[in-house]
């Protein structure tokens, strides 16, 4: 802070000297600026399309403006409303499930005393994170197929009499997606909580042991409060991502029978924008998503500010 004030007070000649001194940095910074402008900021200019009836032939400059017409179409479209519902519901369900599981797993793994077992379990737990969604959906498809392990177990346990076709039951799709997310990310997400747990002062546990606290008490009164700031900041970071959590698995597993519950905003953009070549409508839906995401981040940040928690910006 002090430094920047000083810099402000610097004489013009000193600034010029700095410019010369830092010319290499400035040149590279400019190169990165150009790169950033091209790949991140110019596409924002494409948002104009959402207010046009964009035709590739006429281009961005000469297409007819239709005002909010595309947005009006979106909000009158029953499919789009359903798609918003699906995205939000799956996003929230995934967020809550993966969050709770990661925290639970981190705390319980921390209670495993054998170092070898702990290390081994942790290494195994990361594995699914490194597999692509293509592989995960393939694996999931095998496990849930007619002669897959899940149907086999359920039939053997006499819970069901004949195999269920899991991917044609709309009610089961959201839980399947949530489970797939838990399977893939629990170990990975737990890393940061485990790191947070290691930084808790060990003397707290010793003091609690002397007071006769059992394991549950230690978890409840020391571990959980200890990782609370980490939990809060990760929650904040992830709230903005709720809408982003809905593409790959839904796209790969969705089929005609469950389209009503599996299609998300991203899939809607893809169908209208790419398959139907209605660029304007696809862009409008994309803008809607971006705007909602930003609103979510700002709200989350505001809530954090008010409750005195750490915040993102």
């Amino acid at each position: 802070m002090k430094r920047s004030k000083k810099e402000n007070n610097m004489s013009v000649s000193a600034t010029r000297k700095n410019f010369v001194k830092q010319r290499v940095l400035l040149i590279w910074a400019a190169v990165f600026m150009v790169y950033g402008l091209v790949f991140y900021y110019i596409p924002l200019g494409g948002w104009v399309m959402a207010f046009q009836n964009y035709k590739p032939k006429t281009g961005l400059l000469h297409s007819k403006f239709v005002g909010l017409g595309k947005f009006q179409f979106l909000f009158e479209d029953q499919t789009f409303l359903k798609v918003i519902r699906n995205t939000l519901c799956m996003g929230i369900l995934n967020l809550v499930c993966t969050f709770v599981m990661a925290i639970l797993f981190a705390i319980l793994l921390n209670e495993v005393r054998s170092r070898l077992a702990k290390k081994t379990i942790q290494t195994i737990s990361y594995l699914p994170h490194f597999l692509s969604w293509i592989i995960v959906t393939g694996i999931l498809h095998d496990a849930l197929s007619a002669n897959g392990i899940i149907n086999e177990l359920l039939v053997k346990a006499h819970i069901i009499s004949s195999p269920i076709s899991f991917f044609s039951v709309p009610e089961l799709f959201w839980p399947i997606v949530a489970f797939a997310n838990i399977w893939k990310e629990t170990g990975w997400n737990a890393i940061i909580y485990l790191a947070a747990i290691t930084s808790i002062d060990p003397s707290l546990y010793e003091a609690a042991a002397i007071d006769g606290a059992g394991r549950w008490a230690k978890i409840k009164y020391i571990t959980l409060p200890g990782i609370r700031p980490t939990i809060m900041i990760l929650l904040l970071m992830n709230i903005g991502n709720i809408l982003n959590a809905g593409f790959e698995i839904q796209y790969l597993l969705g089929n005609g029978l469950i389209k009503n519950v599996s299609d998300t905003i991203d899939i809607y953009v893809l169908t209208w924008g790419i398959s139907q070549s209605d660029y304007s409508l696809g862009t409008a839906a994309g803008i809607f998503k971006s705007v909602v995401a930003i609103i979510l981040i700002v709200i989350a940040n505001g809530v954090a500010k008010r409750t005195g928690e750490e915040r993102l910006f």
Binding site: M33, H141, G212
Partner: protein, 325 residues
């Protein structure tokens, strides 16, 4: 299967034997029998939880491996768990004779290597610039990149841009657009800011310029965090398929392994496990399911072999990344 369970049991025994000791030792202090039984119950439940967790995590992966080594028509009967019933390597021969899989593998390796190198150099250089305390536009440049983490043009405008730039139907679409990532830059910057300034000052007195300091002083110190970022980028490159589908759908020579795997997956899903053989390959004992399993194993093999050795890097990276940007 038996072997694995034994292994887990052993793990679990060694774990408990170690646990009982401290509990017994602290008995004198606590002298509350109730507390000890509750703790024992906790250990038992926790052990069961961990075993379940490991089984659920590993089973589907091992099952895919078993399927990939099983005869196709035989696999349709179901009931294959961790060991192939009718052993066969035909699935692999079929996969390795698919031209698109071979092309896909080459492209995937190329994009992973080139993409990771480019991204690493670009992210490190940008992070270096932003981490210089005296840099004139430090905060402006940071803000410029942080914004890109939250706002983006979306699929359609990006597609049009790539078309205009001639990036569609080309290999470069895999490595150029995603080169700089604000998140990775922040991770690198945080690390660089934590380095001791004394070393740099010594180099400055010797008359070293910014680039010399970056290459000769900062970069050697940043090896661990470079490894982390390289790992993140490499895994992302290896696993991505969406860009191949959207930008290079028409160009079979730029197809990627994951995208080819996706095509196999959807062919399996459409037939939902029926026993139709892959006629094109003229082999009657493979089915889409087993062929896909073999392709899956090939695709995940490099990652499974490498990731346990790179653990410390990504753990370190995540912890730095978790720190406020």
């Amino acid at each position: 299967m038996e072997n694995k369970e034994n292994l887990e049991l052993e793990m679990d025994i060694s774990q408990e034997s170690e646990i009982t000791e401290p509990v017994v030792l602290s008995k004198g202090v606590k002298s509350k029998k109730k507390g000890i039984t509750a703790d024992t119950l906790f250990v038992i439940c926790n052990t069961i939880f961990m075993i379940l967790f490991v089984v659920i995590t590993l089973y589907p992966v091992l099952n895919t491996v078993a399927l990939s080594f099983n005869d196709g028509t035989d696999a349709v009967r179901g009931g294959i768990h961790l060991i192939p019933r009718k052993f066969s390597i035909k699935n692999y021969t079929v996969v390795l004779h698919m031209q698109n899989i071979i092309t896909g593998a080459i492209v995937t390796v190329a994009r992973t290597v080139i993409g990771t190198l480019l991204a690493l150099v670009a992210n490190a250089l940008l992070a270096y610039i932003i981490s210089r305390k005296e840099f004139l536009f430090k905060s402006q440049l940071s803000l410029f990149w942080v914004i890109t983490m939250y706002v983006n043009g979306g699929l359609i405008p990006v597609l049009l841009l790539y078309k205009t730039l001639g990036l569609t139907n080309s290999f470069w679409v895999y490595v150029i657009p995603g080169m700089v990532s604000a998140f990775n830059v922040l991770v690198l910057r945080t690390y660089m800011q934590g380095l001791p300034e004394a070393l740099e000052d010594a180099a400055k007195i010797d008359g070293a310029g910014y680039m010399t300091i970056f290459v000769k002083v900062i970069s050697p110190l940043c090896k661990p965090v470079y490894a982390t970022v390289a790992l993140f980028v490499a895994v992302g490159q290896w696993n991505s398929w969406f860009d191949a589908m959207i930008y290079n759908r028409m160009k079979t020579e730029y197809t990627t392994l994951q995208y080819e795997l996706m095509k196999l997956l959807s062919s399996v899903m459409q037939q939902s496990g029926s026993a139709t053989s892959v006629n094109a390959a003229n082999v009657s004992t493979v089915t889409p399911v087993t062929v896909r399993s073999a392709a899956t194993v090939i695709t995940m093999l490099p990652i499974i072999c490498l990731y346990p050795f790179l653990q410390r890097y990504f753990v370190a990276g995540l912890t730095i990344g978790g720190v406020k940007g």
